[in-house]
């Protein structure tokens, strides 16, 4: 059951990212990405992280992608931009991507076997996560709130239209 669910979600996720790469239309790309992020949320749930799964669906697939779609609507190109015209850059990037895949695989090969399996005792208890967030990780948590205020103010100042100029 678990392996079936994993395969389904993994295929959906990779398929979503492939759809992002292959589609010309930016709005379609964004919707494919929503699919990929939602199935990633399911994978997080399989990995015993229900709180992060909910956050992934609400913030990533919800809030951030809605932001993307808003900007796509504002920019509103009639048709998408074709991918790179020069054929050799496409081929080169494909070859380099395969190399990177092999390299990453080799780099983590030693650890992969030692990772063990899912199951066993549960670690994803939201109570425990909240306790950790407000004790051991209190300073990062507070600093993140400052970061969000800075990002908010920065975004507003950047996009605001200047008066009389």
């Amino acid at each position: 059951m678990g392996i079936f669910l994993f395969s389904l979600l993994a295929i959906l996720c990779v398929g979503g990212v492939l759809g992002l790469i292959l589609s010309r239309n930016q709005a379609h790309s964004a919707l494919f990405l929503v699919l990929a992020f939602a199935s990633l949320g399911g994978l997080f749930g399989l990995l015993d992280a229900p709180f992060i799964a909910a956050v992934q669906i609400i913030i990533y697939a919800g809030a951030i992608m809605v932001l993307f779609i808003f900007v796509i609507m504002m920019i509103n190109l009639e048709q998408g931009i074709a991918p790179e015209r020069k054929r050799w850059t496409l081929g080169l990037s494909a070859v380099l991507a395969v190399f990177l895949l092999i390299e990453l695989g080799l780099a983590v090969r030693g650890t992969l076997g030692a990772l063990g399996r899912t199951g066993g005792e549960s670690i994803g208890n939201p109570t425990e996560l909240g306790r950790l967030l407000f004790t051991d990780y209190l300073y990062p948590f507070e600093i993140t709130s400052v970061l969000i205020i800075a990002a908010l103010v920065g975004a507003i100042v950047l996009v605001k239209k200047k008066e009389k100029e």
Binding site: A10, C13, V14, V17, L18, L20, I21, Q26, A30, L33, A36, F37, L43, F44, L47, A49, I52, V55, Q56, Y60, A63, I64, L67, F68, V71, M74, I75, L77, I81, A82, P83, S93, A97, L100, L101, L104, G105, T111, L112, G113, L115, R117, T118, I123, G124, N125, E128, L129, D136, Y137, F141, L147, I148, A150, A151, L152, G154, A155, L158, V159
Partner: protein, 100 residues
């Protein structure tokens, strides 16, 4: 039960796909989406390793990554909007003021 290494492998594949998307696509918005894909691949690796180590600390890190990604998306999209207002284009090759 599913081996944790499967999740790790999926995370590597997603990261490489994100890099491919970043280099193949030519408009800024889709390139930005590719960055989000890479961030999510990192998140998946963190959660898989948290499960393997049996410690929820990895999940806390992912919580912070998602928060920072939200802030990054807000600022990045504001910059893209600004670029579009000035240049009337979001093609990456049109941003070449700094090119020698």
């Amino acid at each position: 039960m599913i081996p944790v290494s499967y999740f790790f492998g999926l995370s590597i594949v997603l990261f490489v796909l994100g890099i491919i998307a970043f280099f193949i696509k030519r408009d800024l918005i889709t390139m930005f989406m590719a960055i989000e894909v890479m961030l999510n691949a990192a998140n998946l690796a963190f959660i898989a390793l948290a499960k393997a180590a049996g410690s929820p600390a990895g999940q806390v890190i992912v919580f912070f990554i998602i928060t920072v990604a939200a802030a990054e998306a807000a600022v990045g999209l504001a910059i893209i909007l600004l670029v579009f207002r000035q240049k009337k284009s979001i093609k990456a090759e049109d941003m070449r003021l700094l090119k020698g």
